[in-house]
Symmetry: C2
Subunit: 344 residues, 2 copies
Amino acid sequence: MAGIDDVARHAGVSTATVSRALSGRGPVAAATRDRVAAAAAELGYVVSASASSLATGRTRNIGVVVPFLNRWFYTSVIEGAQRRLMQHGYDLTLYNLSGDDREREKVFDDHLLRQRVDAVIAVSLELTATEITALHTLGKPIVGVGGPIEGVRTLSIDDVAVTKLATEHLLSLGHTRIGHIGGDVDRELAFHLPTNRRLGYEAALRGAGLVPERELYFPAVFTMESGYTAAKQMLGTPRLRPTAIVAASDEMAIGAVLAARDMGLDVPGDLSVIGIDDHELAGFFGLSTVAQHPELQGERAVDVLMEQLHPPRLGTVSETNTALPFDLIVRSSTARPQGRVGGR
Amino acid sequence: MAGIDDVARHAGVSTATVSRALSGRGPVAAATRDRVAAAAAELGYVVSASASSLATGRTRNIGVVVPFLNRWFYTSVIEGAQRRLMQHGYDLTLYNLSGDDREREKVFDDHLLRQRVDAVIAVSLELTATEITALHTLGKPIVGVGGPIEGVRTLSIDDVAVTKLATEHLLSLGHTRIGHIGGDVDRELAFHLPTNRRLGYEAALRGAGLVPERELYFPAVFTMESGYTAAKQMLGTPRLRPTAIVAASDEMAIGAVLAARDMGLDVPGDLSVIGIDDHELAGFFGLSTVAQHPELQGERAVDVLMEQLHPPRLGTVSETNTALPFDLIVRSSTARPQGRVGGR
DNA sequence: TTGAAAGCGCTAACAT
DNA sequence: ATGTTAGCGCTTTCAA
């Protein structure tokens, strides 16, 4: 493995010049720069990350902490973050908290503090006070995605507004008996999320002059199976009979669609269903939904960090405070309610 | 951030002793070790990764290269690898090749060569000659998971045997017209995989004295939607009329189940379907399948690397050469064919 | 614009 | 068992 000295010798300059030429920091004559670049290329020289880090204190590596891996949202965020990081020449080190508590502790107390990362992105994390302290003693920039962390800048869609929009879509179609399958506050890591989504649902109903019925809310975990179970429950309870369901996630919504089918109900003829996410399977199931673009959230998180890591020259205006976009996507799982209400 | 000198002073020993005490390399009196540990804990000292790496040449970090992130198989492998790495105190740096070619090149020519990793795990990768060269100039251990790489030790289930088993399950139930939805060789990154799975399917048929019909093979990509389309095609073609389908992945199999339902066919009454994977959704859809335990493959890959990175003392026998396990899991999507064949 | 040289924080000979 | 010390490979003053 060629070192910086080899390149220096090869190009007939000092190591300092090689460093300057290759990193772009400090003045180098154009001709010299070319000579150095050529030498480096010829020798296949690549800077040693650890030596460079030790000397500069920067690692060109970002830590991404997620509670799980096997969920569409997280992998999408990671994918977006990774793509953007690569554009900046950064690596991404992944910390998955899905193990037991001891491992979780290890991540915060050891791994993240080893100074292997310049900053961290925390995805949908509900952190303990100790963990927040640990992150702060890191002294590095931190940005959250999808879950508010005490004292940490967080990117997140407006969960209330999103569910409100989904519910309003159903209302505008003429539905008045709308059920909600939401996250179970007691069982989710990010407890604010199911709460906010439920609030949006209720706000929309109230906005239409309706009173949210407690019985039309069914808690579930964010999986297809759980959505399926909840929907069966809801649809099977005689006095409830909703004509539409808004689920707090697409996976739950798909579960609801399948439950309706299994009960012989037509979607959207007998039941309209809308989810939230625009999950990769939403299109296949013809699911109407509100898209929340998680890859974009990952990219944005990186933008925020890069701005702190490499303060931009004056005049560059930050756009990272822009609210995160979400879009209603109407497919074939929602329609006007059948029968009496406004049929033609 | 406390440094090693602070700890040394605090514990009244030299930095060398601190290093030895904390790393476990080299002799240290028990009492001293405790004193050092206490001092380190009190000061919140954590070794600097870059300084340590520079001095030792080891990074305690493994690179994992995947072609995509948003697929159950990859995230499962990563999860398994991560869990095991954490047990060894290693970090995991993720390289995702799903970007454009320029980015892919950057990964191999820059990022992986920065000496940020001690070894790499390549998941389901079909590498170019240049990329293999790049990996080899790395001079670090490499292990592949799920796809053979020239000159690289690779962990992979026996794709032929797996599909053979799935097909034999159907044969044993009495099916004789069995269709196959497999990967499209031209469109997949890992072209050997669809080929091998198809071979296993054909071998099973031949083993039962049947002749594989070309028309009963339908190419697809590894998604639910593609499986759905292929199944509709197969089931809709009058002269084909299979009573069973073996799909090369669970997602495609689920697509086939849904296609059958949409055509008014009962599963397993009119059509049996079996997949391969034991995908997280397989249970929900009652899908019979052959499980391939990707998390385990990730763990095993780490085991192989650890053995090379930390050669075990004599007497420790490596078990990493054990064939990777796969298991037939019978759920409710497979049954004896209806009607004439052996019905009761 | 370039070079010389002093670290960055830790580890591992080597010496004791 | 512990301490002394010379690097690990690069970056960055400081001088020229």
